[in-house]
């Protein structure tokens, strides 16, 4: 099972996280941002939440074809 590296909790099993959505590739209208989901096989930028842990919201960039996670960034940062 895939693992994601939560910035607070470290590497955790995928089942602790909840997928929210894939972001569209570039900027666009409100309609495009809400509905368009053009899937790129090599690069997917996604929002996940660590619901069974610290509840941090994460931006995860990964390669869906190979399953590798390219980067994981905390959304929101420190206030």
């Amino acid at each position: 099972m895939m693992r994601l590296v939560c910035p607070f909790c470290g590497p955790r099993e995928l089942r602790e996280f909840q997928f929210h959505k894939t972001l569209p590739a570039g900027p666009g209208s409100v309609f495009a941002r809400t509905y368009e989901r053009i899937d790129h096989p090599e690069r997917s930028v996604e929002h996940w939440q660590h619901v069974e842990g610290c509840r941090a919201w994460l931006l995860v960039e990964r390669n869906p074809s190979s399953g590798t996670v390219l980067r994981t960034v905390l959304l929101g940062g420190t206030p």
Binding site: M1, M2, Q18, Q49, V51, R55, L75, P79
Partner: protein
Amino acid sequence: MRRGTRVSAGTIRFQFDGREYCGQPGDTAASALLANGVCHFGRSVKYRRLRGLLTAGPEEPNALFTSGRYPAVIPNVAAPQLILRDGLDLRSQNRWPTLGLDVASLLQAGGGFFGAGFYYKTFIWPRWRSYEPLIRRLAGLGAAPGACELAPPRVEHLSCDVLIAGAGAAGLAAARSAVRAGARVVLCEREPRCGGELEFEVGSIEGQPALAWVAATLAELAARGARVLTDTALVGGTGGQLVLHGEPGGLPGANTLYRVRPRAFIIAMGSIERPIAFVDNDRPGVMLVGAAERYLARYGVRVGREAVLFANHDRMYAAAARLVAGGIRVNALIDTRGDLSGMAGATAAQRDALERAGTRCLTAHAVVAVEGGRRIRAVRVTQLAGNGAGVGAETRIDCDVLLHSGGWSPCVQAGLQEGGLREYAAALGAFLAAAQPPWRALAGAANGQLELAAALMDGHAAGSGAAQHAGHAVHEREAAPVGRGDETPRLEPFWRSPAAPRLEKRQFVDLQNDVTVADLRLALAEGFTDIEHVKRYTTLGIGTEQGATSAVLGAAILAEFKGEPPGAVGTFRARMPFAPVSLQSLAGLRVGCAWRIARRTPLDGWHAAHGGVLESSGSWMRPRYFRANGAEPFAAAVAEARRVRASGGIADGSTLGKIEVAGADAAAFLDSMYLTKASTIKVGRSKYMVNLREDGIVLDDGLVLRLAPERFLATTSSGHADHMLSHFEHYRDTDWSGRRVTLTDVTEAWAVIAVAGPRSRTTLENVLGAQWRGALANLGHMDFSAGQFQDHDLKVLRASFSGELAYELHCRPGIALALWEALIAGGLAPYGLDALDILRVEKGYLVSSELNGETTPHDLNMGALVALGNPCLGRDLLDRPGFHEPARPRLVGLRACDGRAKFLAGAQLTTPAAPTRPAGYVTSSVWSPALGEWIGLALVARQLGEDAPLMARDPLRSAADTPVRIVPPVHFDPGGARMKS
């Protein structure tokens, strides 16, 4: 007493097909029955042919037993894996009434009827449905249990440096080199004993007998802290986590599911022997060479008295010599290879032993047929011409067991996942796994190294490589163990004996599913050329053995028919699980309340003790009604609702979702999250608010209370708090408006009691005491006041979900029961969910039936709120033209035209102009005591007005249609005078 590596002295009694047999401790059901002279172990699925054992492992296609008595049966247990225990009650499968006399086997006579794809071509006239009951009785493998009395399995999570699957020569060598490099090793072995083929292959390693080396290596592994799991098979895994399943004894009962995260993984799972296809190769008494060796070495069982061996490689000579030494007479050795004469493939010692035993050797010959229906009596053999065709007359050789082998197929399934590629190795006539990721390797027979010395070196190298990958340094001087066993078998691929075309339908390729050579030819003729299509059309390899004995054979025969090399045809995709796993093991501990938690409020005990009928509502247990008010739900709910309007009642609202929103940006944040502004709420007041999704659809509704200038309490629908919390956190963290906001789910920190009805205020004044009198008197509609009850925090909010004068008491869970009982003592009685539903429908209040994920605020008559123009989430997409079309739904109230008829939620609403195209549907419906008739709420097309003639149609639940009319959604007290009094 038999002697073997796995059996010890003693007696175990068990039953098979109603007869009692004895075996020894360590025996499997297969070995014990063989020792008792049993040769019939079941019948095949389709043709119901009598079958014996083919193998000595879990890949067994024929001998699948049912253990136990209905309803707690366990079907499809492979006999060679089932360790005997006292009192075992086993039955063969696929036969009725008995194994010896099976009525359905009469269908055998129509052999050609049930070829591949027969169900597309037969049982059609006059109606295929009429054949269904018969086919259902005959089809299937084993009978499903009716009850399960097993204890839940253990679940273990492990991480290690190196995981090695398979503890044969290569696996043990790999484990040893890895631990010597300092790696943490987990070694799993699906058999009860380690050693693999070393159990019967007589060899020596590092100067000692092979089994002594196995014991010494296991001792060293234990001393260095490696974990060795026997009776544990690799079943699958992805993403760096592998799953092992431990099932000691071969029956579920003490299972363990392991989830392992290794840094490196070695597949040393050996290889599985392949059969050859010849006419009637499924008769009882036809077995694989390796099976006979295993039964002899492990259990001391001789599978027959006179054997004929038939193979295409050198290993059969070593096997024959061992079988002769073990007391089985070998009448003949049939070698398909033509370039050798005499026993050129044997070593000198083996040749001597066999010649002394009087064994004939026929090279360039093949077994073409088997004589004997219930048990093999003899084989018929012909000479092979260069092109594989038979030449000359057939020779008949007596025997009571035929042992054959077409070679070995390495167990590469685990190496074909996540990028591994199949590669055909012509020398082996089998497929290897190539293109492995850096953390995974195959070793030993699984890697095509069939000879002991090579397997040991291969394992040693893989172990060192894995340890290095895991970050440990490996000493260069560490040498591989040197061993000497059977020579590398020189093999010439041989897949099927020559046969007349009409006999091809008795050359079996997949014994478990009765797939024959004729079926493969038929599939190809009908246009199924891809191996995946052939698999599905013929059912090749879809049984419990999943192609272990049949996949490569089937692919090679298909390749022969297509005129392609087997590498071009390939085999069908290897899928997890690699070994059968019970669903119970996969479920692990997630059963019962660990699977579906039942959340209970602080008042749950009181409800249960006082006749409250509790039902799950989402994850919460809530009282639907109280039995004191009526024996059945309808009457009780009506009585409770009536009493609330007449005098008063209390309800447990603790399941209400509550989220505290605090911080400098809290007000601005809530403004952006709700349709209307929260920043305009004064401290001490609350407001009914609605959330939108980003696409403009209504997400949820609730009250927002302002506790302090920078502190709010947002309530959500029951069971929605988790979702709304994530929703808020997401938008806070994506900078919707200011990030100085803390969000806390306080659903379980506050119990909520709704007090509703004309007597609610006076009862509260009595219960809460003098210090609350002034606050209660001054409390306007939607105001709240904070104070204490018996030294505990209490908030009293004046809000109503029933349309009566009502209050919501928010108190700490610890004091909830005392407060509730005080209210009961004060003269109020409880009401449940059903009554709550009646009251809120009478007032047109909304719940999830109306907030169903498809409605916009416009649909729900909130246009005025939208017009206030608060720039919130969802605003942008709310104004699109599609949301204003005439067919768009609108929330309305409904009454029956004749004032008495019933209509239910879910009924479709149609107009006479379009009687089959619904213009809407009923979302809620209750019988209203206040109005004396059925009332409801519905979503109907916007263009329909109050004079529209509507019919409520509910064909599944009611025979007649009900004429209904549209009314305003607030059925009772439209002005709200009662709650604002």
